[in-house]
């Protein structure tokens, strides 16, 4: 199969087929259901690794492309157009990597296992689809496809206020994506070729074959931006995130933080910047300001949370602020850093949610005050939590640092003030993380219920160890990832540079 046109479609079909199979497994056979979904997600992961090995880092164009006409209704030309470049490659692999782990982490789900697994696999199809589709309508379809399974995962298998959280999540996201749909259609009316093909539209835009008046470009940019900003989530569109995370089951939290949030920043990178470079450049200061506010604000609010999951959720707001900041600094370092940070945030926050979920499985609470001194009873969990926490606060040598460093470095070249303010987030992240670690794991065991907790079992160790290994790998040898991003990121940068005044990065020397 590999090497043919269908290679990327197959990646979508495997989990899709898995979902179909799940639908026909009797709902009482819980173990079979779990096994089947684990099997399909693992196969998907292994298959996706082929793309990693066959990826050509130097190629200027999209790779593994398949493009066939799909819906040709009159003047509408919608294509089934999928492909990968250095930006989407790793996000796809991140998705396929986290899925089996999320399935493994769902062993505790006892109620309605069949629809649960079905939605998980459907979600995987949607997420991969979002990252590989190169047609605006196709993208929009996959984008919405991810919404529905997640809505049900939160709303059915969630905590106490699950319905509120699910509805909030749904309406927030929907409000943004409808605007995006309107913008997609508007863009279509400016396109004489009457199609929705991203590659083609970008090319025609850059050759001035499609001329968007600046106000129109600004409006379209804002419509796209809002959809993505809500997903990221960027301050002040973030309030759905803490609620969704607190109520979501562990696996949904992992996927939500690990992949769904990245769809927002991926969208910014894939659509907003190449399609609307002038608007992006014009609004970059304002957006960077929002990002910086988000970084500091998220961290400060995380500081005072009493619920571990909420704390991690707010920390996501802070970390994703870094990503947005990097994207809107428009240079190679910052955007590459942002892409890298997406991956590391996906890993480390995913792992944090897994760890918190494991605590929840044992104690059935997320409240910090219910814990304390857990390092005595669960040394392995404490040690792994420590590693992941260090990765999250950006300790050099672990993955978090590389992304944050490149983002800040790139932003510094663009605007020193922004980088300096954003850097305060580094201190704040250390404060809230260390504080929560101290309250949960250090000190004496106060609560008698905590005395009898068991340490990680084999399944849980199997979930966490791959993440830790990857965290270390990404931190020590980021070249594996950065090298494959170079060309694709450079293209985005070039596109922006096309419309920008040349920037003077270097300051004058003193003396001479």
């Amino acid at each position: 199969m590999f090497g043919t046109e269908l290679q990327l479609t197959l990646l979508l079909l495997i989990p899709g087929f898995g979902a179909l199979v799940i639908a026909f497994v009797p709902s009482r056979k819980i173990h079979l259901l779990r096994g089947t979904s684990l099997f399909f997600t693992s196969i998907t992961f292994l298959y996706s690794l082929l793309f990693f090995t066959h990826f050509d880092p130097g190629a200027e164009t999209m790779q593994f492309v398949q493009k066939v006409p799909w819906l040709n209704v009159g003047v509408l030309h919608i294509h089934y157009h999928v492909g990968m470049d250095g930006i989407s490659l790793f996000l796809v692999i991140l998705t396929t990597f986290l899925m089996p782990l999320a399935i493994l982490a769902s062993w505790g789900i006892e109620k309605k296992v069949r629809p649960y697994m079905f939605f998980m696999l459907l979600l995987e199809v949607g997420m991969i689809g979002v990252f590989v589709s190169l047609d605006l309508i196709l993208f929009y379809l996959f984008w919405e496809t991810t919404l529905i399974p997640m809505y049900f995962l939160i709303g059915v298998w969630g905590g106490e206020r699950r319905v509120y959280a699910a509805v909030k999540f749904f309406i927030y996201t929907m409000a943004g994506s409808l605007l995006m749909l309107a913008a997609i259609l508007t863009l279509y009316f400016f396109n004489e070729a009457q199609n929705f093909d991203l590659v083609e539209i970008t090319q025609r835009l850059s050759l001035n074959q499609i001329i968007l008046p600046f106000p129109v470009e600004l409006l379209l940019f804002l419509a796209f931006f809002l959809a993505f900003a809500i997903k990221v989530p960027l301050f002040p569109f973030h309030t759905w995130l803490p609620d969704a995370h607190v109520e979501a089951p562990t696996a949904a939290s992992v996927i939500l933080a690990g992949v769904l949030l990245k769809m927002g920043t991926y969208g910014l990178l894939r659509f907003c910047l190449p399609l609307f470079p002038r608007a992006s450049a014009a609004l970059a200061p304002a957006i960077s300001l929002l990002a910086i506010v988000g970084i500091i604000y998220g961290a400060l609010v995380a500081l005072v949370q009493t619920d571990v999951k909420k704390l991690v959720a707010y920390s996501s707001v802070s970390h994703m602020g870094f990503v947005v900041l990097g994207i809107f600094a428009f240079n190679l370092q910052s955007i590459e850093g942002a892409t890298f940070q997406m991956l590391s945030h996906g890993l480390s926050t995913g792992a944090l949610f897994l760890l918190v979920g494991m605590l929840y499985d044992r104690r059935h609470t997320h409240l910090i005050q219910d814990f304390g001194g857990l390092a005595h009873v669960m040394p392995r969990l404490a040690a792994l939590f420590m590693v992941i926490m260090l990765s999250s606060i950006g300790l050099p040598g672990l993955n978090g640092f590389v992304g944050e460093f490149l983002i800040l470095q790139g932003t510094f070249l663009e605007n020193a003030g922004r980088a300096a303010f954003a850097a305060s987030g580094i201190v704040l992240s250390a404060i809230y993380m260390l504080w929560v670690y101290q309250r949960v794991f250090m000190g004496a065991v106060q609560n008698d219920q905590n005395r009898t907790l068991t340490d990680l079992n084999v399944r849980e160790t199997v979930i966490l160890v791959p993440i830790v290994l990857l965290v270390v790998w990404m931190g020590l040898y980021p070249g594996t990832f950065l090298r494959r991003m170079d060309t694709s990121v450079q293209k985005v940068v070039d596109r922006i540079e096309q419309v920008r005044e040349p920037q003077i990065y270097r300051v004058e020397y003193r003396g001479h």
Partner: protein, 650 residues
């Protein structure tokens, strides 16, 4: 052969840390300990062999780099994992692995039988690894890896007794204050890259020596870079205003205090600035700031040290104060003198800490000086070795501290900073006072310990095992002898400074500092003044704590406000709490979270929803259930449409 692959010395401790950290829980204690010690011993051996090969090289070849792999590369930004061995890092690596090895040996005895043994040794090994990376790095970013790495190890080791809340708090505080400094460092690195398009020392230094050949007067980009890096140093090396973590860090095990919080990690700031001498020597404004910060830290900490009751706290403040000296040296452009003091301080302060550890052990974790006394006859080895350390700290001639401290004060005076010199002399007096106070209270006088009086099964404190005393003796030897590496000019040649010279070759040399270099007579006179002040401090301590203990109490009562101000460390922690910690927490809790998030944003979201709902409640009345009413509506609609087509839009 050794010189080509000197970098492998960093691998041993990493290996030890990995093995002990992952598998150590299942190992018996001796295996853990010996694995860990032998790894550091191997490192030290490699360092030593490298050193002997190194000094045989001609002076201009004493820069050996070794490239391992490219770490981060993005566009024109490149950071390599590669190492640089030059005289400066040679000295440092010897100190790190040497003192580190001794403290590993000491830990064998000190930590015996404690739970978490494997963790302790894994962390300690990891620390040696990180410190080696910091020292051997050949670019700023790799140094930053070690820089944060040692901060992490410090965090882990301070919080080693994590069941104690104080330990957890202290660990967190240390890490966070270090982080604040680290952000400064990091931004400094950004600025370095923006200015020089490289973060590699040699490239940067080469560039700076070409582009900044003539000293400008305004505060430019170099001033910014150096100041930012210095912020990092204030965090790591516990200078004003970020020093408050170091006294709290004494919650960690005593060998950790000796290794990390006295001998090695806290001196990383000094090392970093000495390493960046080519930049700093071209930024006189920053140097002045460093000198002022250094001397005020020295003075402040020395003052606080005079009234502390906890033996380790006295030593902690003493460390801060001595670090202040080192920064003073750097601030007046005497990088060599700063490194020299770093070296001697590493020996004698480690010795003092280890000695205090031995006392604490013998007294079953009693740390209050006023519960000690008369220990001289129980702990003879500790007693004699600690006195050697104390004399070195106080700057008694022929002991190592004398030479290094004197070099600093002389350079300060020679650079024309008489006021700074005067304050330095005062600090010397205070130093002599507080360290003799410590010694007198602990080892002389009557036995005040309750444990000594109560009929415990083992009433008399005993000297601990050989693994504790051996490092004490060796360190005492170094404390006595290390000073002879850097003799003052009226006596002989300063061999350390000559050895280090190649490391500072990009240094800006146009300063007029060397004008009084050979005024031997002045130097001798100044030395005598310092000695006199130090002796006065010693005599005062003797008077207060041996001859006439009531005087001290009376004085304390007389100047109770001053005493309590000192006792409470100038209320700095409280001020920080009141000014920063409290407001930030309140801001986050009430304004940002409960206010902005819950009230404003969610209020808007929920408000929109309620508005919709309220309107729906009104609009739904149209759905009245009366078919005839619906028909009327339809008719009305039809009318409107007709109106539109026949009158408005015919």
């Amino acid at each position: 052969m050794v010189l080509e692959h000197y970098w492998i010395l960093i691998l041993f401790p990493l290996l030890g840390a990995a093995i002990n950290g992952i598998l150590g829980r299942r190992f018996p204690h001796p295996v853990i300990a010996w694995l860990s010690c032998s790894m550091v011993a191997l490192s030290f051996l490699v360092a030593l062999l490298s050193f002997f090969n190194f000094i045989r090289l001609p002076e201009d070849q004493r820069i050996i780099t070794h490239h391992l792999f490219t770490w981060i590369q993005s566009g024109n930004f490149v950071s390599e994992v590669s190492f640089l061995l030059d005289p400066l890092s040679m000295v440092m690596i010897l100190v790190v692995t040497g003192v580190g090895f001794l403290i590993h040996i000491y830990s064998l005895g000190y930590m015996a039988g404690q739970s978490g043994y494997y963790r302790y040794f894994a962390y300690l090994n990891l620390f040696i690894f990180m410190m080696s990376v910091l020292v051997l790095a050949d670019n700023y970013l790799l140094m930053f890896v070690g820089w944060e790495g040692v901060g992490l190890c410090s965090y882990l080791l301070i919080g080693f007794y994590f069941e104690k809340k104080n330990a957890g708090d202290a660990a967190k505080k240390a890490f966070i204050l270090n982080r604040i400094g680290d952000v400064g460092f990091l931004i400094g690195v950004f600025l370095i890259f923006r200015t020089f398009e490289s973060v590699q020392y040699l490239t940067v230094f080469q560039a700076v020596s070409e582009q900044f050949a003539v000293m400008g007067t305004e505060f430019g980009v170099l001033g910014a870079i150096t100041l930012l890096l210095f912020i990092g140093a204030t965090g790591k090396s516990a200078q004003v205003p970020l020093y408050v973590w170091l006294p709290d860090a004494m919650e960690g095990p005593t060998p950790v205090s000796a290794l990390i919080h006295a001998a090695t990690m806290v001196t990383a700031g000094v090392y970093m600035i000495a390493r960046s001498a080519p930049l700093y020597s071209r930024a006189p404004e920053t140097l002045f700031i460093i000198a002022v910060v250094g001397i005020s830290t020295a003075l402040l900490a020395a003052l606080i040290a005079t009234v502390q009751r906890d033996i380790k706290k006295v030593l902690a403040y003493s460390t801060i104060s001595q670090l202040g000296y080192m920064f003073l040296a750097i601030g007046v452009g005497a990088f060599g003198a700063g490194v020299f003091h770093l070296l001697t301080h590493a020996f004698f302060k480690a010795l003092l800490f280890l000695g205090s550890g031995s006392v604490i052990m013998a007294l079953h974790h009693e740390q209050d000086l006023f519960n000690m006394g008369g220990l001289r006859k129980y702990l003879p080895v500790t007693f004699y070795t600690m006195w050697m350390g104390a004399l070195a700290l106080a700057g008694v001639p022929l002991f190592s501290g004398f030479f290094s401290k004197d070099a600093i004060l002389w350079k300060t005076f020679a650079a024309g900073n008489e006021a700074l010199w005067l304050m330095g002399v005062v600090v010397a007096g205070l130093t002599a006072f507080y360290i003799s106070r410590l010694m007198f209270l602990a080892f002389h006088g009557r036995e005040r310990s309750e444990k000594q009086h109560q009929g415990a099964p083992d009433p008399s404190p005993k000297e601990p095992s050989w693994s504790v005393t051996l490092p004490l003796i060796i360190l005492a030897g170094f404390s006595l002898l290390a000073g002879f590496l850097g003799l003052p000019s009226y006596w002989g040649s300063n061999r350390l400074e000559e050895f280090l010279a190649p490391s500072f070759r990009f240094q800006f040399s146009g300063q007029p500092a060397a004008a009084m270099e050979h005024a031997h007579l002045t130097e001798v006179i100044l030395t005598l003044v310092t000695l006199a002040v130090a002796f006065f401090g010693f005599a005062l301590a003797y008077h207060f704590y041996i001859k006439n203990p009531q005087v001290a109490v009376r004085l304390a009562n007389r100047f109770s406000w001053l005493y309590s101000l000192l006792r409470r460390k100038f209320l700095v922690d409280e001020i920080y709490d009141w000014l920063l910690v409290g407001p930030v927490q309140r801001l986050s809790q009430t304004i940002l979270w409960k206010g902005m998030d819950v009230r404003v944003i969610d209020g808007l979201v929920h408000g929109t929803a309620s508005l919709m709902q309220a309107w729906s409640h009104r609009v739904k009345r149209i759905q009245s259930g009366y078919a005839r009413l619906y028909a009327t509506w339809i008719l009305g609609g039809a009318l409107l449409i007709l109106f539109y087509y026949y009158w408005i839009s015919p």
